[in-house]
């Protein structure tokens, strides 16, 4: 048992346990990865015969010259920049506050986490009602402060802001919970000795808390980035199956969806998928590198 040499019999035995996972992941994950790369370099592709013709980088050249794709990339990055830093700062702030009021912490944590477990599509539907130009609550609140109403879902200038506000709200709970874990794993004696040395709460925060939770902050940042690069569901709902007024809400995944599902242009869609893959791969590699070298669980 312990010292037995690995035999064919044991390998076969183990493969029986692995087979279901290996077969399914091969068909639905490994093969598609390769297949997407291949599709993305075909010049022509026939869906019905599943045959491609001609190899080249025409599809990437197409993306390179397509203003719509430029818009998608630009919007995606605006979205990431709009969501990630704000989300990290707000959730850290709330986590700190929750730690301060430990008695009601559980209750508030439950409330803050609610959006995270709900369907993006369904709750986005609710937000279309909140965002409504004429009857929406949001514009009503603006009016209370004597501000002019905003066409949240109709004015192309506000499209990204609309998406960003919703997405921060939707995913805040996850970051709060993970920040709470990090905050509570900072050894208490650090704070004790710091307060004996006369450090103010703010000094304690910047000199102890921030450096010690920085690995978590970093990981959350990357995770939030990866999730934000893939934004799709809310756009679909907010703009009724379009990418917003004048395509102002076009993102990489929406572009992929549009090319693939609406225009049936599989090769360009695959090229867009490949671009997304590269972006996310870079983020993941960065994350792995940092968690290996700087994070100690």
């Amino acid at each position: 048992m312990i010292n037995q040499k690995i035999s064919w019999k044991q390998t076969l035995h183990a493969l029986l346990y692995l087979a279901p996972m290996m077969i399914l992941l091969s068909i639905f994950f490994l093969y598609p990865i390769i297949s997407t790369f291949i599709l993305s370099v075909f010049k022509k592709y026939n869906f019905y015969t599943n045959a491609g013709q001609g190899i080249g980088f025409d599809n990437f050249a197409y993306l390179w010259h397509d203003p719509m794709f430029h818009q998608a990339v630009k919007n995606t990055f605006i979205f990431v920049l709009g969501v990630v830093p704000a989300s990290i700062i707000i959730s850290l702030g709330i986590a700190l506050l929750l730690n301060r009021f430990s008695k009601v912490r559980g209750f508030f944590q439950t409330l803050y986490f609610l959006p995270y477990v709900t369907s993006t599509v369904a709750i986005a539907m609710v937000w279309t009602w909140i965002y409504h130009s004429d009857y929406g609550v949001l514009n009503f609140i603006l009016k209370l402060f004597h501000l002019p109403p905003v066409g949240w879902l109709t004015d192309p200038h506000y499209t990204m802001l609309t998406l960003i506000i919703f997405s921060i709200w939707k995913n805040l709970g996850l970051n709060i919970i993970l920040f709470l874990v990090a905050l509570n794993s900072v050894p208490k004696q650090y704070y004790l000795s710091a307060s004996i040395d006369g450090a103010t709460p703010w000094q304690q925060f910047t000199n102890i808390t921030v450096p010690l939770i920085s690995p978590t902050t970093f990981l959350l940042t990357i995770n939030a980035m990866i999730a934000s690069f893939k934004v799709f569901d809310q756009i679909y709902v907010f703009y009724h199956n379009t990418a917003g007024p004048n395509n102002s809400g076009m993102t990489i995944v929406y572009y992929l969806y549009q090319k693939f599902y609406v225009e049936n242009n599989y090769t360009v869609a695959s090229a867009a998928g490949t671009v997304l893959f590269v972006i996310i791969l870079l983020a993941t590699l960065l994350q792995n590198y940092v968690s290996k070298h700087y994070v100690h669980y």
Partner: protein
């Protein structure tokens, strides 16, 4: 059931044998202790009996039947591991009954058997508890009960008492002895604590350096150690050893006779150094100076200097001054001569 090892070798890495050419027999109904320092190969030997390890060379025989190729589940053994071997998600009752469940016993039957075994190891009032709620000693007893559940031919215990405090260890070792005598089951008990081994076993096997150093009755180990390793490993006090040449100009040399010439090392137990000669001692002593004396209770431990080396002595009651020169005598039963390879020369 009788257990026999025939030319067993085991190597974890190709360049070094962890056990080398082991041959021994454990008789039916005996309790044998495997004793030795850490890393001596005790657990390895036990795992070879259990079938968790497969020997690199040689045969394992149960009642003369070759079981070398048999897996652990077919060998009809019960085993208690050093740590963590209970199933943490089950109650005491279900832990004990688990092997029976695997063997497809009916529920009523296995619970009845579990209750009986629980009584044997005195945990019958804990049956419904989760095992995490038990003390270390209770957990060990449950593990013993579970090992006994299938009515095994052999019971293997790997340092079952190592986690317990001194008192509980004493109690538990008596209990294991009691259970073993009640069930008459062939038992192999691993420990690195020599006094534990001396107290409960029929025979003791001392393992060190990939080999059996000695395999005999407990008192034999003490009275007639096979070699220098056993002599220094067994006993509560350290063995004094020094080069034979230090005795060359003493009359003790003559008294020892011709065996003396074969010896290279002399060993004397600290408790066998006395200040008066008698029938038990050699008639010639050596002159020493008292360096230090320390007493607690009745026992005093002393340090004598003899030709520049230091000798520990315990059990002396006569009082004398520091730095005073005295003649000390060696009791024969605690005095050994070893040859160059460490063998006890008095055994021939």
């Amino acid at each position: 059931m009788q257990v026999r090892f025939s030319h067993i070798s085991l190597a974890f890495t190709p360049d070094k044998d962890t056990l080398h050419d082991l041959n021994f027999t454990i008789n039916d109904g005996e309790l044998v202790c495997l004793l030795g320092p850490s890393g001596g190969g005790k657990s390895t030997t036990l795992n070879l009996i259990s079938g968790l390890l497969v020997p690199t060379k040689g045969k394992v025989l149960f009642d003369n039947q070759d079981v070398t190729k048999m897996g652990p589940s077919e060998r009809k053994i019960g085993m208690v591991f050093q740590n963590y071997s209970l199933y943490p998600h089950l109650t005491v009752e279900n832990n004990i009954a688990f092997p029976l469940k695997i063997a497809h016993w009916k529920k009523a039957d296995r619970l009845a058997r579990a209750a009986k075994l629980a009584k044997l190891v005195h945990v019958e009032d804990q049956l419904q508890k989760n095992v995490n709620e038990l003390s270390g000693g209770q957990q060990q007893r449950v593990a013993i009960a579970r090992a006994l559940a299938k009515d095994p031919n052999i019971l293997l215990l790997d340092e079952p008492l190592s986690n317990l405090d001194a008192r509980l260890r004493m109690e538990m070792r008596e209990e294991i002895r009691r259970i073993q005598q009640e069930t008459k089951i062939t038992t192999v008990f691993v420990t690195h604590d020599q006094s534990e081994a001396m107290h409960i076993s029929d025979s003791v096997m001392v393992l060190h350096n990939a080999q059996i150093q000695q395999y005999s009755k407990p008192n034999e180990l003490y009275d007639h150690p096979a070699n220098q390793f056993v002599a220094s490993f067994i006993g509560d006090n350290p063995l004094n050893t020094f080069d034979r040449s230090l005795l060359d100009d003493t009359e003790l040399k003559e008294e020892l006779g011709e065996v003396y010439d074969k010896a290279t090392t002399v060993g004397v137990r600290a408790e066998n150094i006395v200040l008066t000669k008698s029938e038990d001692t050699y008639q010639h002593g050596v002159r020493c100076k008292l360096l230090k004396s320390h007493r607690y209770g009745l026992i005093s431990t002393r340090l004598y200097s003899f030709k520049g080396i230091e000798l520990d002595a315990t059990g002396l009651t006569e009082i004398h001054d520091i730095n005073e020169e005295v003649e000390i005598y060696f009791q024969k039963r605690g005095f050994f001569l070893f040859d160059a390879s460490g063998n006890n020369l008095f055994l021939e």
